[in-house]
């Protein structure tokens, strides 16, 4: 545990699971909030020292600390590289759920213009967990669907932590049908722990809504691309992820059940999530090897949250490349998509 508050070194406490949150923020960095994962502790310590030294020099300390700072910065970069060199599946799950990781709203804001959100399933309600709308991607009209988890308590509650209810999936179907009608390609951004398990959701047909959404997505006549940007959790994810091209961010995960869920069902012990994450093969690298996805989008050193610009750039390039590839093919988009999914697993 790093030192006490007020000594200049960020004071850490355990937030939830394995995320450290800095409660005391130095003045120079007052606009930022640091979140470190368990395995990033060496980095956290070094960055803490750097912040302390910077503060000292700003306060006009007698000693010249510039050399020391640059030395520490190098060490901290090395520590980061070491930590991210070979992430385990469980560590990747943590990075995929990192509170600072760019979310759906960030990708929409960065990659799209003229974003026009549309609301409601025309039957029951509006669901903020699943964002839907039309926009322009590199000038071209696109439909966009994606789960948004929210970034602070208020927005997390508003977006229900990215766990959609039937209304969300029915709204998605509405947008897909509209995209089809107007011949507009679709981009979906997947980031959800899963569809919401609640009384109301069940009452209003969560399963049926997901099944219809998967079916609508598979049946699109227009090309579609799906990117798993964080967590691809089970049916709630696949409902919008049956695309002509499916990409995953380097440290994102995609699985049939959360590692915690699998641990509690298969091991009867929810603390075995680490084993479940390893055995279930949930990483982008595993999925590419099994030919479940079409490509991996590389993340900057230390994960997408440490280089927002870089990840936006990379995601934008990959989406554009995907649409170009699809445009070159002569195959009907719907048949291409269906045949692609039917082929999954047949060559293993």
């Amino acid at each position: 545990m790093p030192a006490k508050p007020g000594t200049g070194i960020p004071y850490c406490f355990r937030l939830t699971g394995s995320v450290f949150k800095v409660s005391w923020v130095p003045r120079v960095l007052a606009s930022r909030m640091y979140n470190y994962l368990d395995f990033e502790k060496p980095v956290a310590d070094l960055e803490g020292k750097i912040v302390e030294l910077k503060k000292m020099s700003e306060n006009g300390g007698a000693v010249d600390v510039a050399d020391e700072i640059s030395r520490l910065e190098k060490r901290s970069r090395d520590a980061l590289r070491d930590a991210y060199k070979a992430l385990t599946p469980w560590q990747k799950a943590q990075v995929a759920r990192h509170p600072d990781r760019p979310h759906c709203v960030d990708y929409i804001a960065e990659l799209m213009t003229d974003y026009t959100p549309l609301a409601g399933d025309r039957a029951f309600g509006e669901d903020n967990a699943l964002l839907c709308g039309f926009a322009r991607f590199r000038g071209e009209p696109v439909a966009v669907i994606g789960q948004e988890k929210g970034t602070d308590t208020q927005s997390r509650l508003k977006h229900n932590f990215g766990m959609a209810r039937p209304e969300g999936y029915r709204k998605a179907v509405r947008i897909m049908e509209m995209a089809d009608k107007f011949g507009i390609p679709l981009i979906s951004l997947v980031d959800t722990a899963g569809a919401y398990p609640g009384i109301g959701a069940e009452e209003r047909g969560q399963a049926e809504a997901i099944a219809r959404s998967t079916s609508a997505c598979l049946g699109l006549r227009v090309p579609n691309i799906s990117v798993i940007i964080g967590e691809g959790g089970s049916g709630g994810a696949i409902a919008i992820a049956t695309a002509n091209k499916v990409y995953m961010l380097e440290h994102s995960i995609y699985s049939v059940i959360s590692p915690e869920g699998a641990a509690s069902i298969l091991w009867h012990d929810s603390t075995r999530a680490r084993d479940a994450a390893t055995n279930m093969k949930i990483t982008a690298q595993d999925l590419l090897e099994m030919k479940v996805i079409d490509g991996i989008i590389a993340e900057p050193l230390g994960g997408a949250h440490r280089g927002r610009e870089a990840i936006m750039q990379a995601a934008g390039e990959q989406i554009a490349a995907g649409f170009r590839e699809l445009a070159e093919s002569t195959q009907d988009y719907r048949e291409h998509r269906r045949d692609k999914f039917l082929a999954i697993g047949r060559t293993l």
Binding site: A195, P197, G198, I199, A201, E202, E203, R204, G205, Q206, A207, E208, I210, A211, R212, T214, S215, L218, G219, S234, G235, I238, A239, T242, Y254, S255, V256, I257, G261, A262, I265, L266, W267, H268, D275, A276, N279, M280, K281, I282, D286, L287, M290, V292, R338, F341, L342, I344, G345, R346, L348
Partner: protein, 307 residues
Amino acid sequence: MNWITNYVRPKINSMLGRRDMPDNLWIKDPDSGEMIFHKDLEENQFVVPSSGHHMKIKGKERLRFLFDEGHYETLENPKVAVDPLRFRDEKRYIDRLKENRAKTGMEDTIINATGEIDGLPVAVTVQDFSFMGGSLGMAAGDAIIRGFENAVEKKLPLVLFAASGGARMQEGILSLMQLARTTVAVDRLKEAGLPYIVVLTNPTTGGVTASYAMLGDVHIAEPGALIGFAGPRVIEQTIREKLPEGFQRAEYLMEHGMVDMVVSRLDMKATLGRLLRILMKQPPGTVIDPEALPAAASDEAPTPAHA
């Protein structure tokens, strides 16, 4: 619960318990606690005569009661990669598969059959809960796809009896992919203009409801069947509330517009025959008297068709 369980000390109780009849001869009705002789239960399609409780029924039994004279042909299921993840939890997945194959005599959970219901040729797919809880993995996924493709080829309506706890977690993401793959098969059957009827039986939950089991033209449920996306325990843990009475049961789903009808197993054949003949634009068939069902003990092994 009878008076013995309440008044006899646990140790004595367990000694008494051991002297009970072997459980394969007498079966206990979970509703009333009544003991039913297995032959009586079997003759009544595993529906408890007094309470109407629907017990689980094996896929083969289901088919025998469903088809005219109990005659049907089965399709050979496609071969799939076995245990591609080399998965192990408390046990190796491959060992679980072996155990379940030995226990059930089935390769996996799906049987595809064709035969006649009320004189009308029909493709039927049944999911057998006794094989790893009817869980949906690659083998089941490919078998379901095969069943649908066969129906399209032969221009047959398809009836699917769902029974499953959901996706087979031991196959990881590949089991999740079966949601998409089976949905493709359903959509192609629908595009061919052929009726698709789903019969939801106890239990049908998880990924299975989130794909082919909720995409029917008509949804029929057996009385009391548990049907839902998230399991009741997961919901209870999430919302930390007690669930309402009858939550996620067949009758509740009908009330909430998710199923068209709740039909007793004893009336299933008649209902399916009547409905399919209408949807296939055929003249009315014979009225089936539920009393005159095929005899229970025809042990003839159906011959597989290699179509």
